[in-house]
């Protein structure tokens, strides 16, 4: 498949009427359009957005909430930062459309503390939208009321998990809840709530603007549309790129001029480490799923050092409420230290991999379920380099 663009091509001017168009439809029509487009969550988990919105629309309650998850904390991900900074209108319109679609009146942007420098700009933008009657009471004269406020995070990776995010908004430690019940029924303050990624809202606005059929022409079966990827590491042109789903790792590397790559970490620290032999694999929900993080490592890099950096990250960021994650990550990190010292036996290594698999099954939230991924994939794909030669 040819590479569509080498930067983001979200045409802001083109989608400026998305909100107006949406408010002429019924909430059911919007949800159906989003479902028809097959939009899946852009934060990484890939839950069908239309289904989420339909569940929230069907929920009966006096109040509902729309939450924009701007707690972009996955290592190697920075596309939401660019969207919030340069494509603010698309994100805000997407949230407002989501609000209308589920019949909510309040929206909250949960902005990570690290992006506090964007706060004033975003607040000014929301004021502008209110002045233009695109937020607030009786939006564009349609009788629909919706307003958005911004809340800041305070430096906790786990708050990117939707229920931990809601806990944080409610003034608690950011510890994930058991699911079910899901936020679409029992979310913020117990009210039906949709929590979507920044890019998901932007994509929703584009779908309303251009139509589901247009959207489905891009990408591959089961993964429609484009994806923003944040590319960093050993390449000449790091940055945020809009690519069609289905693009191969090899094509991505060509696009950013990474000549010496030996491994690509797809999906951030919690993602998969792909060796050169698998560079024909594709970015898509059915193969290499990613919230947008693509990190490139060249032949000079020490994979054990990289793995250790990831595991140190998870040990620090585990919220500690469930033992598989709290203890498991620590054990994996200790294992890496043993490997470094040349003291880890094959038997113990296999036990650690089994431990990782147990964590994937037994952890309460996505953090502990995915934190063993780099350990397992790096030790599987780079066993010779990181283990056998030590």
């Amino acid at each position: 498949m040819p590479i569509m663009n080498d930067t983001i091509q979200f045409n802001v001017g083109e989608h400026r009427l998305a909100l107006e168009k949406a408010l002429k439809l019924t909430p059911q029509d919007i949800v159906m359009e989003i479902r028809e487009a097959g939009l899946k969550g852009r934060g990484g988990a890939g839950f069908p957005t239309g289904t989420k919105w339909l569940l929230a629309l069907s929920a009966v309650a006096e109040k509902k909430f729309v939450i924009c998850n701007a707690d972009e904390g996955e290592p190697g991900t920075f596309k939401d930062r660019v969207l919030l900074d340069e494509y603010t209108n698309l994100v805000i319109d997407g949230m407002t459309i989501g609000g209308y679609a589920i019949q909510a009146t309040e929206g909250i942007i949960y902005l990570r503390g690290e992006y506090k420098y964007l706060l004033n700009k975003l607040e000014r933008f929301l004021d502008e939208k209110r002045e233009n009657n695109q937020l607030g009471n009786n939006i564009l004269g349609t009788g629909f009321n919706f307003d958005i406020k911004i809340r800041l995070g305070s430096g906790a990776y786990v708050c990117g998990e939707e229920t931990a995010l809601i806990e944080s908004l409610e003034g608690h430690r950011g510890e994930a809840r058991n699911r079910p019940p899901f936020p679409v029924n029992t979310g913020f303050m117990g009210y039906p709530t949709i929590v979507n990624n920044v890019e998901t809202f932007a994509s929703a606005a584009i779908i309303i603007s251009k139509g589901a059929d247009w959207f489905k022409k891009i990408g591959i079966s089961k993964s429609y549309g484009t994806k923003l990827v944040s590319i960093s590491g050993d390449c000449k042109k790091p940055g945020v790129y809009e690519v069609p789903f289905g693009i191969s790792i090899r094509d991505l590397l060509k696009m950013v001029e990474a000549d010496e790559a030996k491994a690509v970490q797809v999906g951030g620290a919690s993602g998969q480490c792909v060796p050169e032999s698998q560079f024909d694999r594709k970015i898509s929900f059915e193969d290499l799923s990613t919230g947008g993080s693509v990190m490139i490592f060249n032949k000079s890099r020490d994979m054990l050092h990289i793995l250790k950096n990831f595991m140190e990250f998870f040990v620090e960021e585990s919220c500690g409420q469930c033992s598989p994650c709290r203890i498991g990550n620590k054990k994996l990190l200790e294992g890496i230290e043993l490997i470094e010292q040349g003291k880890c036996s094959y038997t113990y290594l296999n036990e650690l991999i089994e431990l990782g698999k147990s964590m994937q099954l037994a952890s309460k939230c996505g953090l502990g379920q995915s934190s063993p991924n780099p350990f397992i994939s790096i030790l599987t794909n780079f066993e010779n380099e990181v283990f056998s030669t030590k």
Partner: protein, 157 residues
């Protein structure tokens, strides 16, 4: 803490409770604002916030200890947060760290004697395409070199 300072802090917390509401959801915004103004959240402040929100102080303590950007001990006026996650690490954040340490004569995790600077590592701050990167309070700096990082720090003196 002087009695007059305590009174001042109580009044400040009361006005924040008015601004954000005396409900549990107001806890994080109140803590963030106290942190920003005072550089930390003292035990006394935690007690007072608990009183105004009508929750147990241990609930406040639990939240303060959970979040990396909230602190229970006084920190420097300028908190330098250097990103330690992989992209910045591969871009040689170590060299930046050593240069800043030499310049301020303290180690990461420490505060200068004049309480002007605190050095901390943080996890991925989303500037992976422009590393090494750091925050000084809320200001973002990217594409650092050891020399550039030191010049930035000096500009806060």
């Amino acid at each position: 803490m002087l009695v007059s300072e305590k009174h001042g802090l109580t009044a400040e917390i009361e006005s924040l409770a008015e601004k954000y509401g005396r409900t549990r959801e107001a806890l994080l915004p109140i803590l963030q604002e106290i942190q920003m103004r005072h550089g930390y959240i003292s035990e006394f402040a935690q007690q007072e916030i608990a009183n105004f929100l009508d929750i147990h102080p241990v609930e406040v303590y639990g939240v303060v200890t959970f979040y990396a950007f909230l602190s229970r001990k006084p920190e420097g006026r300028y908190i330098v947060k250097l990103c330690q996650t992989i992209a910045c690490d591969l871009a040689d954040k170590e060299a930046i760290a050593r240069a800043i340490e030499r310049e301020l004569n303290i180690k990461f995790g420490e505060t200068t004697q004049d309480t002007k600077f605190t050095l901390q590592y943080i996890n991925c701050m989303g500037m992976c395409d422009q590393g090494p990167a750091m925050l000084v309070n809320d200001d973002v700096y990217t594409h650092l070199t050891p020399h550039k990082a030191v010049e930035i720090i000096k500009s806060y003196k």
